[in-house]
Amino acid sequence: MTETDTNARTIHADTDTALAPLFASQPLLWEKFRRFNATLRHGDSHQQRLQELCRLRIAAIHACDAEWQVQTPGTSVSGSERQALMRGEPEGFAPHERAALALAEKLPFDHHGITDSEVQAVRAVIGDAGTVALMTAMAFADVRCRWLVTMSAAFPSPSANN
């Protein structure tokens, strides 16, 4: 997977575009999944930006092109920020964003390695409900990536055709 400012400005309007082919034979399940997915966006613009940063970092960790190219509507992540997320370089982000990204860094493959203090650093900023929302959104970003990567042989991501 490669990343440039150009493809950072595109491609899917939301995660639905990437996931729809996986549910083609299960329309009712697809509708319920979309409804569930829509509830994952939580809080004000700052909390939604945290979710977006973490989602992108998880996509980068999984090398999941289809999830990476999603740009969640209403969130703003610059091209240079996306490149930093791709490289796993959180230094340029705000302290509370780095705290959230520390969780995202471990969630996919080192979830038992997440410490109480790392969670507390996020909880101190966004509270209990915000922390639950962020962790849930990250967990399902992880699920989507695993899903998409696993199924990519059968359903190539739309970007593969670009």
Binding site: Q26, L29, F33, F36, V119, D128, A129, V132, A133, T136
Partner: protein, 65 residues
């Protein structure tokens, strides 16, 4: 790994567990259970096979919950 709950349940709930903590996001957990129920009901695989894969996944990810 934590040995104690990392977030508190909403006011009025005593014990922090998956069910109570997720009540911070009632729309999300209700939509999840609606989806999850259909996932178990639908599809080509039997419930037995789904349960085996669920348990194996829980072991691999070391999730005692």
């Amino acid at each position: 790994m934590s040995t104690r709950p990392r977030v508190s349940p909403p006011q009025g709930m005593d014990t922090a567990n998956f069910g109570t903590v997720m009540q911070h996001l009632p729309d999300t957990i209700n939509a999840f259970f609606d989806l999850y129920a259909d996932f178990w009901r639908q599809g080509a695989l039997s419930v037995t096979v789904k349960e085996m894969t669920r348990l194996r996944n829980a072991r691999i990810t070391d999730c005692g919950y």
